[in-house]
């Protein structure tokens, strides 16, 4: 009896040992299976979260000229991809928290990708691409080549008509974009048919985004900072220049004004615009005078943007800048010179002529206006011209700078793209990575 009992015990022991080993193996395999499934969802959730980021970038871009809004943390967008398990939830925040304040501010975009029980949250910066980043010339209503053979180096685009008058000829060595259903013009191998018009913010909208209002800009403009050369030993230095005694509340610049100022070392009457934001309602300068745009900061010691804003409320008088316009630079590449900007919101034509070579961005998108931006008289613009109507004639040339040179991170946004920061975050709603409440 003792022997039989021993056999049973031995058998039970062996069975128990085998069962224990099998249970262990089963637990291990099942755990591994669960881990693999979760890992699969974990990877897929990241892909969906990044899909949400791209959705929101395009959403913000598509609203830049209308609502200027994007989804908020309180009202995020939830989307999915057809046939793919899971979804994404996305929203924007300001760079220092709170809601995104709209263009031209950069933004954080946060997106939660969820697959099964796994969620991953990604935050990236959305960075604006400036108004002058893409096109050498763009006319929302038309672009016309008016006389002689004028040249555009770079991409020319229009939402309307590209044409040449009887005496005008165009030479365009970049692509020609016809944007939207009403765009048309000559055909060619460099023509690109684009389904939708490119939407540009009006100058009023740019000012509202940058300053809040025209009245704020008018009250805080830098017109009083205009400088002139000293009467003796004049030079483009802080000591070689002095105040032009230009009133902060004077908003027009005419030929006669230059009689008050000293001559430049080259012998012409001159005015100097140090870096800053200027507010003008009228330009009527058509003589041998010189306007120095001190983007290189030679007279202040600090390079910076020289921006001239012309309000939509100004009288509809034509503006003319037919004089020498020179930009300064301390940068070996000359990039400083591209920091000059004119934002013309007046419902009146503006023409630039007789200049040997000027730099920067010229922007004249105005609501409900037939005003044109015209360059004539063999002018050479190294930069970008964006306006409702653009007229180029008299053998003028527009040279688009090398890629990225004219891009200024402070320009108003034309569209938003991925910035320079990507980070994964813990899920926002319950402080854990996974929606089931765990983090591992």
């Amino acid at each position: 009896m003792r022997e039989k009992g021993s056999a049973v015990l031995a058998a039970i022991s062996v069975a128990a040992l085998v069962s224990l080993l099998l249970a262990g193996a089963a637990t291990f395999v099942m755990s591994h299976n669960s881990r693999v499934q979760r890992e699969k969802d974990y990877q897929a959730a990241l892909t969906l979260a990044e899909a949400g980021i791209n959705y929101e970038l395009l959403y913000a871009t598509s609203n830049l000229t209308t609502t200027k809004t994007a989804h908020t943390a309180a009202s995020p967008y939830t989307g999915s991809i057809s046939g793919v398990e899971g979804n994404y939830k996305v929203w924007t925040e300001g760079m220092i928290g709170g809601a995104w304040a709209g263009p031209p501010n950069d933004m954080w975009i946060k997106s939660v990708g969820t697959v099964g029980n796994v969620s991953r949250t990604v935050a990236v910066t959305g960075q604006r691409e400036g108004l002058f980043a893409d096109f050498s010339v763009f006319g929302t209503k038309d672009v016309t080549f008016t006389s002689s053979t004028s040249t555009v180096h770079g991409t020319l685009g229009t939402n309307g008509l590209l044409s040449a008058s009887a005496s005008g000829t165009a030479s365009i060595d970049g692509e020609v974009w016809y944007c939207g259903p009403t765009a048309s013009g000559p055909s060619g191998t460099n023509v690109v048919i684009v389904p939708d018009p490119v939407l540009w913010p009006s100058v009023d909208s740019v000012v509202a985004g940058e300053f809040g209002s025209w009245s704020y800009l008018q009250a805080h403009c830098n017109n009083a900072n205009l400088r002139q050369f000293k009467s003796s030993n004049g030079a483009l230095t802080p000591n070689g220049t002095q105040s032009a005694n230009f009133s902060a509340t004077t908003y027009s610049l005419k030929n006669a004004d230059f009689n008050k100022w000293n001559t430049s070392p080259s012998g012409s009457k001159a005015i100097i615009f140090p870096p800053g934001d200027y507010y003008f309602t009228d330009f009527s300068v058509s003589s041998t005078v010189t306007m120095y745009m001190d983007t290189g900061g030679l007279t202040t010691g600090t390079p910076g943007r020289v921006r001239i804003f012309m309000p939509s409320s100004a009288a509809d008088s034509q503006d003319t800048l037919n004089c020498n316009i020179l930009m300064t630079t301390t940068d070996g590449t000359g990039a400083d010179r591209l920091k000059f900007r004119i934002y013309d919101g007046k419902k009146a034509d503006i023409s630039i002529a007789g200049t040997s070579g000027i730099y920067g961005g010229y922007y004249g998108i105005r609501d409900d206006s037939n005003a044109s931006f015209t360059i004539l008289g063999n002018s050479v613009i190294n930069g970008s011209i964006i306006s409702n109507h653009v007229k180029i004639g008299g053998g003028s040339v527009v040279n688009f700078p090398n890629p990225g040179m004219i891009t200024d991170t402070q320009d108003m946004a034309l569209w938003y793209g991925y910035g320079d920061k990507w980070q994964e975050m813990k899920q926002q709603t319950n402080g854990t990575v996974f929606v089931d409440g765990t983090s591992n």
């Binding site: 990044e50 980021i53 970038l57 395009l58 046939g83 690109v192 990507w422």
Partner: protein, 153 residues
Amino acid sequence: MAQVTKLTRKARRRGVTYVDTLIASMIAVVGIVGTLNLVTFLANMTQRNQVSSVAYNVARVAVETVRSGGFPNYPDGTTYTYYDNNANLVGSIPNRVTKYKVITTASTNKYMVKNGVNFPSYNATRTVTVQVNNYPADTQLVKWGTLLIRGGI
């Protein structure tokens, strides 16, 4: 009587031993079959886990391949790519070591046209799905998707 009683006891003991052996054998058979089934099940699950692990890594490679090509460059339509058991690229044509078939589909909602050729518009959304199937069984293991835009992530 004493002998009869002894035989009866002996016979009774032998009968019990047969039953015991029978029951023990049945239990042993059930146990062994169960054990073999469990081992087989676990082996299959381990194999499936390995297949899944390779599948989602292959899917990740496929998504990153599309992404690294740049927003406008990956062609619209469906492309097939094949991988072996160790996630090594076989190519666009399967061979005897192929274990995974990757089906990458890209579609675009808006096009620009240059010289009669369509390419994604500056404001287009491109939808990319990546499906990884067993090969040659052609059963779906993983299906992922993402969106691409100009200047996006």
